[in-house]
């Protein structure tokens, strides 16, 4: 039994076995009276705290840790070490809102486990009451794992902090309690100057919250559709955006509360377009509604050449509960509490991955998006994708298809605009899907947006030079979903957002509300850190070349990769296809087909489509298709493995390559600058490409950075190899081969 030197801490239960060596307990014999407090953000309020708490350090194989104070505020759970802070090393990639080492935003908490008498239990409402666990394990949504030992502090403090954390992280709460509403009430930090710059930056991401944004987008893609402003005050439907675009041929807007209304997503240069719609399941009796839907499909067909393909995504893709279940299984493989677990799970790694089905769901989504792309690009057919709500998988598939087709969406600003267009303005129910409020109703939780980012990551890793943004950008974006500050991910629809913002606005005394969007990256990162968002390999379009070739094109014009005919006809059935195409055009026959009805399986036709694309010359500014074969779909290593010390590659990993590339680019840039300085006769402007700022980064001893960089930045990590424990593998070699002699001469009978 342990008795603590001072601090009046009650002795722990006799059954408790300490993980801590006596030396460690001695270290805190003198509890600091001068309490440390976290640096609170404007609007952040401290709820409770407890000291001393032992935080186990994760990157240590043994159960060691540091003592400190654990706080719970309205924004986060935070731990402050009693040790005097070590000399601050300049960390290049630091989140201004929370530290990755000691802070857990409340919204980021996934599960809390308590260890009671050596037994681990998932903490739910019922367990919180009187007993508090000796050890508290917190699993975060960004896959960090924290372990705190509560037995060294006073019983009442331990109880209070445990209950406080459990309450604020797990109990259902109202949207108003989300930190964003306290945070935004305070004047935005920073000088006016930086604010102006922010505004400038923001302007580049198109928010799609005004009619002009939509008009501009229609102009950019040469769409011939109709902008609807009748829903400005949500009279039409509360599930639809304020402004949206529909096919010209739709006359009646007001029936069925906008159900079945085809929402325009994007237009192909040929004229055909992609639409999405909410199609509730129709019963046989409901003839009128069925007719309404028929009219809607016809209207889409009218958009271009009277052809349309409709695809019910809820029929062909897993539903949101499947997605949720699969992800729950999948993420377990990365929430690793100790080294033994790690090496045990390493043996069955591949089959575990497969059993979760997560990679397969990613593949299915990409596959479906390729099918949509094929219709638009090869067949020049209008496409209407539908599901019951029209705001989940529709968003995934339509955004993916647009990224594959339109290089603008592969730039950072373009990508952000796309998320605004399809997801935020498009009324994806972020609040419910992300379960920010810990609602008990499990039906509506699902990581749909994360699934989309996963799919984008697959594209990024397969075609890196085509994307202006890096995988670090995607990882940070996926983390930001759980930072309760950004209006982007807090609402279920445009109507919801407006309702809440209106109701909340009197609370903020100083003028209009200023709840930042996630695209305001300066809230989280300084400009130096933001450089990590850019992909050094991005093959930027050569501007003057284009100007020579296509001087008449407007700025955001997509490059038309190849005349569509060159790509249109597969070898096999080319002749007939052409004929029917022209026939169709002549007769203007309405073609309503479903994928299921087509003779070849969709997988086989997309295979063919992929292969013919593969044979074309590389064009990073044209169509982009993913390879979907087994080995090509991979695990997003950076996101999932960044907190696991066992897989850090010291001095290696992609950071080594990125560093080298940045170096290379900066040298190219320096040379260019010198040339320009020399070139006095011509006052040519220096090419201010954003990623060139990378040269500002000094990695110093980049040879010693770990593969998890820029995340999990460990300072004093010793340069030691990570040798598997329990190497004595139970590698099941059941046949007789294992026991054979190396020299075959002794086993002549072997065949």
């Amino acid at each position: 039994m342990l008795s603590l030197g001072s601090g009046g801490a009650k002795s722990t239960k006799p059954s408790f076995v300490s993980y801590v060596t006596p030396e460690e307990i001695k270290a805190e014999k003198d509890p600091p009276k001068k309490e440390k407090h976290p640096d609170l953000l404007p609007g952040e309020v401290e709820f409770c705290s407890a000291n001393p708490i032992l935080k186990y350090s994760q990157d240590d194989l043994s159960q060691h840790g540091v003592f400190g104070t654990l706080f719970c505020t309205n924004f986060r759970v935070t731990f402050i070490s009693d040790e005097t802070p070590q000399e601050k090393t300049a960390k290049t990639f630091k989140n201004k809102l929370y530290g990755e080492k000691n802070d857990i935003p409340l919204m980021c908490v996934d599960h809390i486990y308590g260890v009671y008498d050596e037994k681990r239990k998932l903490i739910t409402g019922g367990l919180v009451k009187n007993k508090y666990p000796s050890k508290m394990i917190i699993h975060c949504k960004d896959l960090r794992v924290f372990q705190f030992c509560l037995t060294f502090t006073k019983e009442e403090d331990a109880k209070k902090i445990f209950q406080g954390i459990a309450h604020h992280c797990l109990e259902e709460k109202s949207l108003k309690c989300v930190f964003a509403f306290s945070y935004m009430g305070t004047p935005s930090p920073g000088t006016d100057l930086s604010f102006c710059r922010e505004m400038l930056r923001k302007q580049e991401t198109i928010m799609f919250d005004s009619p002009e944004d939509w008009t501009q987008e229609m102009k950019r893609t040469k769409a011939n559709c109709r902008l609807v402003i009748e829903n400005k005050n949500f009279e039409l439907s509360q599930r639809l955006p304020k402004y949206f675009v529909i096919p010209l041929a739709i006359g009646d807007l007001f029936s069925y509360q906008g159900k079945g209304l085809p929402i325009w997503c994007w237009s192909h240069y040929s004229g055909c377009a992609l639409f999405k719609a909410s199609f509730p399941p129709v019963t046989q009796e409901d003839g009128d509604f069925q007719k309404h839907l028929e009219t809607m499909i016809n209207a889409v067909a009218h958009n271009y050449l009277y052809s349309v393909k409709t695809e019910d995504l809820s029929e062909s893709l897993p539903n949101i509960q499947d997605i949720q279940q699969s992800y729950n299984k999948f993420k377990q493989f990365f929430l690793i509490e100790n080294s033994t677990d790690f090496w045990l799970s390493d043996v069955k790694w591949f089959s575990s991955l497969e059993s979760s089905g997560w990679l397969d769901i990613i593949r299915q989504c990409l596959q479906k998006a390729v099918e949509v792309v094929e219709c638009l690009e090869k067949d020049n057919t209008n496409v209407l994708i539908t599901e019951e709500e029209g705001t989940d998988l529709c968003c995934v598939i339509s955004s993916l298809a647009q990224i594959m087709l339109d290089p603008y969406y592969r730039t950072l600003m373009g990508f952000q605009s796309l998320v605004q267009k399809e997801w935020v303005a498009g009324c994806h129910a972020f609040l419910d899907r992300c379960n920010h409020l810990h609602q008990k109703d499990k039906e509506c939780h699902s990581p749909v947006f994360l699934l989309f980012l996963e799919c984008v990551w697959q594209l990024v890793q397969q075609h890196s030079p085509a994307f202006q943004f890096s995988e670090t950008y995607l990882t940070v974006l996926s983390d930001s979903v759980h930072v309760p500050i950004f209006s982007t991910f807090l609402f279920n629809s445009a109507h919801h957002r407006e309702g809440v913002m209106k109701a909340e606005s009197p609370l903020a005394q100083s003028g209009p509300l200023s709840c930042p969007t996630v695209w305001d990256w300066s809230v989280q990162f300084d400009s130096k850190a933001q450089n990590f968002f850019y992909n050094p390999l991005y093959s930027e379009k050569v501007k003057h070349e284009k100007a020579v070739r296509k001087p008449h094109k407007p700025k955001h014009q997509r490059q038309l990769s190849l005349p569509s005919t060159a790509f249109k006809t597969p070898l096999k059935k080319g002749f007939f296809k052409d004929e029917t195409d022209s026939l169709k055009k002549m007769l203007q026959v309405k073609r309503l087909s479903r994928w299921m009805g087509s003779p070849d399986s969709p997988a086989a036709t997309t295979r063919e489509f992929y292969e013919s694309w593969q044979h074309r010359p590389v064009d990073y500014h044209g169509l982009l298709l993913p390879c979907l074969d087994g080995p090509a779909v991979r695990v997003w290593m950076q996101r999932y493995l960044r907190w696991i010390p066992e897989v850090y590659i010291l001095g290696g990993g992609s950071v080594a390559m990125t560093t080298k590339l940045m170096e290379l680019l900066s040298q190219v840039q320096d040379l260019k600058r010198v040339l320009e300085q020399r070139d006095t006769s011509q006052a040519a402007k220096i090419d201010h490409r954003p990623y060139i700022q990378h040269r500002l980064l000094s990695f110093g001893s980049s040879g010693r950075l770990s593969s998890s960089f820029p995340f999990a930045y460990t300072r004093n990590r010793s340069f030691k190899p990570i040798i598997p424990t329990g190497l004595m593998q139970r590698l099941m070699v059941t046949d007789s081969l294992a026991s054979q002699e190396d020299e075959a001469s002794s086993v002549a009978s072997f065949v």
């Binding site: 390493d346 069955k348 044979h615 080995p631 990993g653 190219v668 300085q677 040798i723 294992a738 072997f750």
Partner: protein, 566 residues
């Protein structure tokens, strides 16, 4: 291009049954070196070019069908199978193409010489001069006060699978060494492979001691190991790494072999590394081929991959090498590595550990030296393991040990993209020519055999070819960190299947344009700009020289000199 190639036979109207694009009709040409199939009707033109050395098995499949078709199946060592069909009853020319194929594919079985002995291409470099053992040991600072060169095996009398030059502790006499020869399996005594430039910790390789069931001892062997330990003042311990699983090591006692007992070898600690034998590895690769060729089953890809255990074996080998490197680097302790005979798992482990420890072996020439030293001179049985020109494809001595090693190196290049001077194409080229029999490098089983066959005189070295066009094999991202130890991560999570090697025949897995291309473009751009800057500098210098020399520190001077990689 290839001298002394005899265009032996051509057959038209042969159908190649491509598993990816279906049947292709074209003409098949067989020479004494390769098989060449071409179909010009398709867009793009379809071609197939295969050195006959890559064939492991070639046979007529079944009898002629009712339609009179005869089909031939070719099983290749490089992870593919080919199938050709042609009509039987036509002119005899076609038939002969396949007969010629059968004959030239397995020259050794037909008492003919391998094509490498006919190939007389001249390259500007002579690759046989890449490895000079004494120069390499000299680079390591040898001989020194603790290690000497022994001439005891000068004529390969004591051990025919070892090189002539052996480094042993100075305190051991040749007479004592002779006794050790009889105590180690196949006479492969503990000799030095590499020595740490600072700590003097040594990597020593050997074969198993012939302990047997009765626990035989050899006091000279014990003295030798003690001397190896004593040669390193930093540590009073010696680690013996036995690559085998302990069960297999113990089973070897029945056959006279075994492992060092800690009673007999004071201060030595024995560690088993659990790496399986050549038969397990062969079987694992066979399963892997089944899983990746020709088609990949998408829905079960990962569990299928796991069931081959291929990456698990890779993990164990890398983990073993990592432990060796760690003991030498962090523990400053000398190590002895052996398996049963010390020519399969032992070179895998020592050469990987050396790559981790010594950045020289991560350069193109350094890697060639490493292969020449650890694999070729120390007698990895390439002829047996690959079966050059041998028809007997079921030979149990065949095993992909070297392929596995190259795979491990590839895994390391993935984890440390800037640490290796060579690129992936270099590794693939080595593997392709391991089978092709175009070069003499990988022929025979030992240094002694290669000398006897006059391989260096009569054939061309692979390194002649490689070093004459280095730019093809350079990694554009290479940064030379002189004293930089690499500790890779061996978790399966960070190991990948080498898709660009094992699945390279699947056209869908090929990237449109390798990223490699992008790097090259960048480097080219830099080189171009640099040239322009230099031109302008020169121009400016000329101008200012005439006026005055006041601006010594002109802005151009401040640019860091840029190294050129290509």
């Amino acid at each position: 291009m290839y001298l002394f190639i005899v265009c032996v036979s051509t057959a038209k109207d042969v159908t190649y049954i491509c598993p990816f694009i279906g049947p292709v009709r074209g003409s098949l040409t067989v020479t004494n070196y390769r098989l060449f199939f071409r179909c010009t009707d398709r867009e793009p033109v379809f071609g197939l070019d295969l050195p006959l050395g890559a064939l492991s098995r070639a046979e007529k499949i079944g009898a002629a069908t009712s339609r009179g078709d005869v089909s031939y199946g070719l099983v290749c060592k490089d992870m593919r199978n080919l199938r050709f069909v042609h009509k039987e009853l036509e002119d005899s020319l076609k038939k002969s193409a396949f007969e010629v194929l059968m004959k030239f594919a397995f020259p050794v079985s037909n008492n003919m010489s391998l094509f490498a002995f006919e190939y007389k291409q001249v390259f500007p470099e002579n690759g046989w001069k890449v490895y000079d053992p004494l120069a390499e040991y000299k680079r390591q600072g040898l001989p020194n006060e603790s290690w000497r060169i022994s001439k005891v095996n000068d004529h390969y009398e004591l051990c025919d699978s070892y090189p002539a030059a052996l480094f042993v502790p100075v305190t051991i006499t040749d007479e004592e060494l002779r006794r050790v020869f009889s105590f180690r399996a196949k006479g492969r005594i503990p000799v030095l492979s590499w020595i740490h430039p600072e700590s003097q910790a040594a990597v020593v390789r050997a074969s198993q001691p012939m302990v047997g069931q009765n626990g035989r001892r050899c006091k000279e062997d014990e003295k030798l190991l003690q001397a190896i330990m004593d040669a390193n003042a930093q540590s009073h311990k010696l680690f013996i790494f036995d690559a085998r699983p302990s069960v297999n090591a113990a089973a070897n006692k029945m056959k006279g072999g075994g492992y060092e007992s800690e009673d007999a070898y004071q201060n030595a600690e024995l560690v088993f590394l659990d790496i399986h034998n050549i038969h397990v590895m062969r079987e694992s690769l066979r399963k892997l081929k089944e899983v990746v060729y020709p088609n990949i089953e998408e829905s079960h890809w990962l569990s299928n991959l796991e069931s081959t255990h291929w990456l698990e074996h890779i993990k164990l080998i890398l983990a073993g090498a990592l432990r060796i490197a760690d003991k030498v680097e962090s523990g400053k302790t000398s190590v002895v590595v052996h398996c049963s005979d010390g020519w399969d798992r032992t070179p895998q482990l020592t050469s990987l550990a050396l790559i981790m420890l010594d950045s020289h072996y991560r350069t193109i020439r350094g890697f060639q030296i490493l292969l020449e030293k650890e694999w070729l001179s120390f007698g990895h049985r390439f002829q047996q393991r690959v079966g050059h020109g041998d028809r007997n494809h079921t030979d149990a001595d065949r095993s992909p040990i070297f392929l596995q090693f190259i795979d491990c190196v590839w895994q390391m290049t993935r984890q440390f993209p800037a640490a290796f001077e060579f690129n992936e194409y270099f590794l693939i080229t080595i593997l392709d020519h391991l089978y092709s029999c175009l070069f003499g490098t990988f022929l025979c089983n030992s240094e002694q055999q290669r000398l006897k066959e006059e391989v260096p005189k009569r054939t061309v070295s692979l390194w002649s070819f490689v070093n004459s066009q280095l730019e093809e094999f350079v990694n554009p991202l290479y940064v030379h960190y002189p004293s930089h130890v690499l500790f890779p991560t061996v978790g399966i999570r960070h190991l990948q299947l080498w898709v660009t090697y094992y699945i390279r025949w699947n056209p869908r897995m090929r990237p449109q344009e390798p990223v490699h291309q992008r790097y090259k473009e960048l480097l080219a751009k830099r080189a171009e700009l640099q040239k322009r800057v230099e031109e302008l500098q020169r121009e400016a210098a000329n101008r200012t020289a005439s006026s005055s020399s006041e601006r010594a520190g002109s802005p151009t001077r401040s640019i860091t000199p840029v190294q050129t990689f290509v």
